[in-house]
Amino acid sequence: MTLNRLKQFIGSAAGRASIALALVLIVGIIFNANGAFFRASTHRDALRQASVYGMLACGLTLVIISGGIDLAVGSVLALVAVCSAKMAIHWGWSGWLVVPASLLIGAACGTVSGWLTAALRIQPFIATLSMMAFARGLAKFASGGMKISPTMQNADGTYRNVDVPALFRRIDSRLLGENVSVVTLIFVACVACAWVALARHRWGRYLFAIGGNEEAARLSGVPVRWAKIGAYMASGLFSAAAGLCQAAQEQQGDPEAGTGYELTAIAMVVIGGTSLMGGRGGMGLTLLGVLIIGYLEKILSINAVPDAGRLMLTGVIIVAAVLTQRRRRSS
């Protein structure tokens, strides 16, 4: 009986992703870089580095399950990084204002993307590609093309330094005896929110139904338009959280931040086992995908694999992971 259940688990998407994660960890144990892999700080940093991507992956999971895609997450991250840095550093706003304002900016971008696809019926790929360009441009406009950092130019051309805002220092700190990054905790909170929405709220069921068969969902009374706009808005919110964390970690707002992050985040969602066709997947799977890619990156970096090799290997491993998933599914 238990053996049967084990077999069933191994055959499921969650089982496959778990096995992949286990393999990655075994590779880490073997290539442990003289014991570096066994240090707590290594794991803390692996999780922290994966967290920003992971937040983007949370929003993408919602959008992808509804049958869409959001390419704008990296650009929205940059826009929010720039704006939050401007508010916190230049204008000296308190965190109680910066956080809601940042989230609002992210949500607004997502809502526009959602409105373009759900109401104007522009293909999600195109709509979010436009938003990707627009948000990046807006980030550069807002920052004047410069990084927004605590080093500010005076009117006479000299420079002065202002303090790093408390909000950024708080986000970039560690808790529990320096063992957990606050950024990781924010990521965990994002996962929890997305999981609750998908698995426990009516809206989550609607997203699955829309991704599986939009017309059937509509004819069953599902408010397709609102559910979809909501998914893109949520994606914008999670991107904003990622943007805040990015700005806090860099202690500056870089308009070039997050370039290419959308692809890593999509890879995390897909490796977890959520279908790009929509209708199938889940937040647990995405968490596994985030851990797989996060640990992979960390293991390659502690073994000092050069960047060129790292990128190529990452590409190969993504394909391998997706191929094993497919082979198991067909048999």
């Binding site: 009516r202 069921r205 139904a209 599986g212 004819l219 069953s220 199938r280």
Partner: protein
């Protein structure tokens, strides 16, 4: 198209001859065919012979093993028990599926020669391909422009294009899997005429159908499968319908379903001067509680669109007036219609009825989810309970309610689609082809359910393209022709001839 009709009338004349003087030679002999998936045996010791110039009906309920046999015949499954012997060299087999395998945006010619276009130095020789394609299409009595994209033609024509493609590949055996499910009566007749032509060319035809009248019209030989085993194989004339049905279901019963006399309640639905642009005009009708009103019509009658329009699926383009329980209503979205107690079972469960990737519970509760999740928070236990309750009266055969709907048989999928509408406790149910593509046992169960629902005072508007079903279930029949009502009959007045005449637009 006028020329087409002529060609076919000629061929019809010949076909009556061909029935008598047919020379039959075996084309393909399948012996002792068996197939297993894991520990499940889906076929066991089946013999099946296809002869030239013969229409061989393959009958059986859903899940009897018909499609597995066809997949072995078509070479899709290479791994099976038994032998497939091709008697005249390499006999080609073409399978014409319910879902056509043509590529919509490509031209007719490109489709016919897909993957084997005539080429010169590696480039497709367009002129030659066009001429060849036109020749094959003409051979079937079709006068169409082969450069037009396939998707611009109606389904019936697309089916003929697929047959032309099969012929051009020298296929001697043609497998047709419920080819008439999307065709109207004249189109069916044209297809059957074509089948006669194919017979004369020495083709062997394997025909899968759930429709008794079709089987009676074209069968030469009938093979019946049940639970993966061969029940019998006999010339058609030796197998009267009652016996065929008993072979299929394994027990004798009368084909007629006794609908109990309804107790009619108050008026539940009334339409006045109801218009669905481009589909239906000036529709006036009423349905009372406990009543089944059948909407009859051929393809293009606008009946399906009328139901979709009433249900709010087209948004706010509808004009005219609708009353539900004597209250004037106007639905501009399905969500509104559902909130007011209207349910619409669509005519295509795969495309518009169910979410195949979701569980039975998720599908059965989708329309009523708002009520089942107060404040937006879902309550899985309540959902399960609700799904158990709505599927209970329909003998759903599923391993568990968590199963994906896509893994169920057609009949069971249809029951889940119906369960979804029972969940909202409807006042009026709109049923569009409630038994399309499902086996006789499941059909009967759905008839039973319709009977029970009307017993609870629900009003039902029913569309069906099967005359016996229409006559069996309807208390009143309204006939549509090109979007307008041409006749209305009570149960006693109605006869298939009168209905068909009205549906074809003949003056009463």
């Amino acid at each position: 198209m006028a020329a087409t009709a002529q060609v076919f009338s000629l061929q019809l004349g010949m076909s009556s001859l061909s029935r008598i003087q047919m020379s039959t030679a075996d084309l393909i002999r399948m012996r002792g065919i068996g197939k297993r998936f894991g520990r499940v045996t889906v076929l066991e010791g089946v013999d099946f012979t296809i002869r030239s110039g013969e229409v061989h009906i393959l009958a059986g309920e859903n899940g009897a093993g018909k499609s597995t046999l066809i997949k072995i015949l078509g070479g899709i499954y290479q791994d099976f028990e038994g032998t497939v012997e091709k008697c005249e060299g390499d006999v080609g087999v073409a399978v014409i599926h319910q879902e056509l395998s043509l590529i919509g945006p490509m031209s007719v010619a490109d489709n016919i020669f897909l993957g084997r276009s005539p080429t010169r130095a590696g480039f497709v020789c367009d002129v030659k391909q066009r001429e060849e394609a036109a020749r094959w299409v003409r051979e079937l009595g079709l006068e169409i422009d082969v450069q037009r994209p396939v998707e611009t033609f109606p389904i019936a024509v697309q089916q003929l294009i697929e047959i032309a493609k099969a012929l051009s590949q020298n296929a001697r055996v043609m497998v047709m899997d419920e080819p008439t499910s999307a065709l109207n009566a004249p189109e069916v007749k044209r297809l059957f005429d074509l089948i006669q032509t194919l017979k004369q060319r020495g083709c062997g035809i394997v025909y899968i159908s759930h429709k008794m009248d079709e089987i009676e019209r074209i069968a030469d030989h009938i093979t019946v499968l049940r639970d993966g085993k061969l029940v019998g194989s006999t010339p058609a004339r030796e197998l009267p319908p009652a016996k065929l049905i008993s072979w299929m279901v394994g027990r004798e019963w009368s084909e007629q379903f006794p609908r109990r006399t309804p107790t009619l309640g108050k008026e539940r639905l009334r339409l006045e001067s109801f218009d669905v642009p481009g589909a239906a005009r000036q529709i006036d009708l009423t349905v009372r509680g406990g009543e089944v009103v059948g909407l009859a019509g051929l393809q293009g009658s606008g009946a399906s669109e009328l139901l979709l329009g009433l249900f709010g699926a087209y948004g706010d383009v509808i004009t005219g007036e609708a009353w539900l329980d004597r209250e004037k209503k106007r639905f501009t979205s399905p969500a509104q219609a559902i909130a007011n107690g209207l349910g619409l079972l669509t005519n295509d469960r795969k495309a518009t009825g169910l979410v195949m990737s979701l569980s039975i519970i998720a599908n059965a509760t989708l329309a009523g989810l708002r009520e089942l999740s107060p404040g937006g928070w879902r309550q899985p236990d309540k959902e399960r309970e609700a799904a158990e309750k709505t599927t209970a009266p329909m003998k759903l055969r599923a391993a568990s309610l968590e199963m994906e709907v896509g893994a169920l048989s057609g009949g069971n999928q249809q029951k889940v689609a119906l369960a979804k509408w029972l969940q909202i406790r409807p006042k009026v149910l709109l049923l569009d082809e409630p038994t399309r593509g499902i086996d006789i046992a499941a059909k009967r169960e759905i008839y039973q359910l319709i009977d029970e629902l009307t017993g609870q005072g629900i009003a039902i508007l029913l569309i069906t393209s099967e005359m016996p079903e229409l006559m069996t279930l309807s208390d009143r029949i309204i006939v549509l022709h090109r979007g307008t009502i041409t006749a209305e009959f009570t149960r006693q007045e109605a006869s298939p001839e009168k209905i068909l005449a009205a549906a074809m637009g003949a003056a009463a």
